[in-house]
């Protein structure tokens, strides 16, 4: 199943470089989470990615992908061209993510069928392309549905100061959150200097399953802090079951703004 992973990259990883402020010390857990969630991610982007899927025996599968995003006031558009391996080469996925909360529009082009088909946004707790990332990881969350509690205001990750925050669904949204994300509780590690979430520990509705997220290799590209490596590990009863790594390269921001790129015609034409 394909999904809106481009948004994920932005939601999970991007931040303006100049966000560290003097007032950060007085921010509440909610304010920090919201600030992290609403960071500026560029008006458009292009990136190449390798998605590496690793099973418990260490066997790897790799997908090479080129993706574009375009933001406007109404929606964020993304389109992803799958380049390899052979069984997915030529596949294209396109998504419109509406700012006002309406259901996303999604289309999938399968080269075997030579046809663009609309697909339902579907269960957001499902796996994205067989990876450990879910649709909810990819599309981000609605911060209004959660309570945030500061667990440690003076934590560190790799020697860098971070906040450690617990997020739990508000009682009135508990069922909705569980249905849409499959998650029941998360711990977030958010850097104080740029509000990038660099780690996450996620407890799932599947008993004994916990997931560990990390964002690594942060680089400032066109003024935007960009982790070039995202990783999610699924752990069952403290044993690693599966891992997924997104490795990015060739990031370009605010250069590809042609709306024609985000059409079903573009999906059929293939990689641009």
């Amino acid at each position: 199943m394909m999904s809106r992973y481009t948004a994920c990259l932005l939601m999970l990883t991007l931040s303006t470089g100049a966000m560290a402020t003097a007032s950060a010390a007085t921010m509440t857990a909610r304010e920090i989470a919201v600030k992290s969630d609403t960071r500026y991610t560029g008006d458009s982007s292009r990136a190449d990615a390798q998605l590496i899927l690793i099973d418990r025996k260490g066997r790897e599968r790799v997908r090479d992908i080129r993706t574009y995003t375009l933001d406007n006031a109404e929606m964020e558009k993304s389109i992803s061209f799958f380049v390899s391996p052979t069984d997915v080469a030529g596949t294209t996925y396109m998504n419109y993510d509406y700012e006002d909360g309406r259901d996303d529009d999604s289309w999938l082009y399968l080269p075997a069928l030579k046809q663009v088909r609309r697909v339902a946004a579907g269960d957001k707790s499902g796996s994205f392309m067989g990876s450990d990332f879910t649709y909810s990881d990819i599309n981000g969350v609605n911060t209004d549905w959660y309570n945030y509690t500061m667990l440690d205001a003076n934590a560190e990750v790799d020697g860098v100061p971070v906040w450690k925050i617990e997020s739990t669904p508000k009682p009135e949204f508990a069922d909705k959150v569980e249905g849409e994300t499959g998650y029941i509780k998360s711990h977030l590690w958010i850097r104080k200097d740029n509000f990038v979430q660099v780690q996450g520990q996620i407890w799932t509705e599947r008993k004994g399953w916990v997931k560990f997220f990390s964002a690594q290799q942060l680089e400032e590209i066109d003024g935007i802090w960009t982790p070039l490596r995202l990783q999610m590990i699924s752990v069952r009863n403290n044993e690693k079951e599966h891992a997924s790594v997104f490795q990015f390269s060739n990031y370009v921001y605010n250069q590809h703004t042609d709306e024609e790129l985000f059409t079903t015609q573009s999906m059929q034409r293939g990689i641009q």
């Binding site: 069984d87 999604s106 075997a112 030579k114 339902a120 707790s125 796996s127 790594v245 015609q265």
Partner: protein
Amino acid sequence: MNKAPASLTVATLSLLSSLAWPQDFFDSVATQTSTDELDLDSPWTHRTWLQQKTGYGWHTPGVAASRDQAALTRTESQLFGEVGWRQNTWRLQASGSLLHDWLPDLENWGAFSGYDFTEQQNQQRRWRLQLADTFVEWQDNDWWVKAGYQTLAWGESESLKITDVLARRDQRWPGQADLEKLRLPVPAVQVTWNNQLDWVTLIHPLPDRMPAAGDEFDPYVELRQQQSELNLIQEHETRPGFAIRWRQQWQGLDAQWMLADVTSYESELTVFNTGPLGADVHLSPWRQQVLGGSAQWVKGSWLLRTEQALHNNVRVTQQNPQAPWQKTRQWRGMLGADFNGISDLLISAEYSWLYIKNRIPTLGEQRYQPAASGRIQYTLYNDRLTLEAYAQSITGDEGSLIRLQADWTVSDNFSVSLSAIEYDAQQADLLHPYRHNDSLLLSMRWGL
């Protein structure tokens, strides 16, 4: 985070580093894949794979086909290649397959003794080069032109052809085709404006690819039983076909309207001459007009689909199979739904119908002919394994088929697929002569 205690010995550290998994779940996972920068800017793209497919029929066919016992039905190798090139507004693509069914060879070599093949079967199973989508395309601003051999998929209905009238089909193994062979390419020019208006000119398309004499699904198998010799003479319609389509997208809804004046890919029986040495049967396509529309609507985890079309001038057989076929006007429709609200599970169902508006009593088909299909697909082990169950009731309650399939992705470059297809039909059903052509298919594909 858990930090390794300083007292760990070098040997222990060495052992830990040899494992793919870190002890700290936040540490970087070691990968064997080179994560150097990708180069996706090359103007060239290519895809190549080798497939080996073997079929086994576990029943004796209901009527006399070459296969007269449970036996292998085919053992086909396919080498597929596709190369593409792009530069600014231009793109080129060439693709095709080299195919060979080894079963007649195995018989010649004494390694297979299931049954004898007819001359036509031998001809169809020999080494052959099959052209796939091969075209040149140009795009500039609102205009997109694509000319060449191309697959035109204008509909989604699985149980009935409604608006999907531009693609040729392979009818040799109903219900057994690979995904990429559900439709065959045809020579055509497509001009698109503003990603909304499509104009297609079909240039001398060939009829559907039909089974060889003696094949399990030979549509003339009963006629062959009645005649000592049956000569099928296929006539061709050379006029180009035309189709126009308007597409519109809204949030949650896609809609298309289409109009086509095309030559059919099916053929009617126009002349039936019998003599002492056998019969000559002339087969001719007909010209038909199609006016239709389709829509796909998304709400939450549901995708609702519909296709509706009026077909004019469609030929239908009479009760007397040797009588001239009749022109009919038909309303064809489909209502369908997909649901993917349960993790990794996709459920699809559709109901379709064919309604003959000007049916005469001698017609060989009912006025109202329903059809239906359903599919359940479940993926697991991080998309390595896909299980699928598919069932279809053929239009007009003429029989049904069930297909169970498992696809296992062993690695990026190797996958295995196992399918079982079971047919079922009553005495009066169209599918009845073919009801015992159940098949087990094993397919292995290597990406090269």
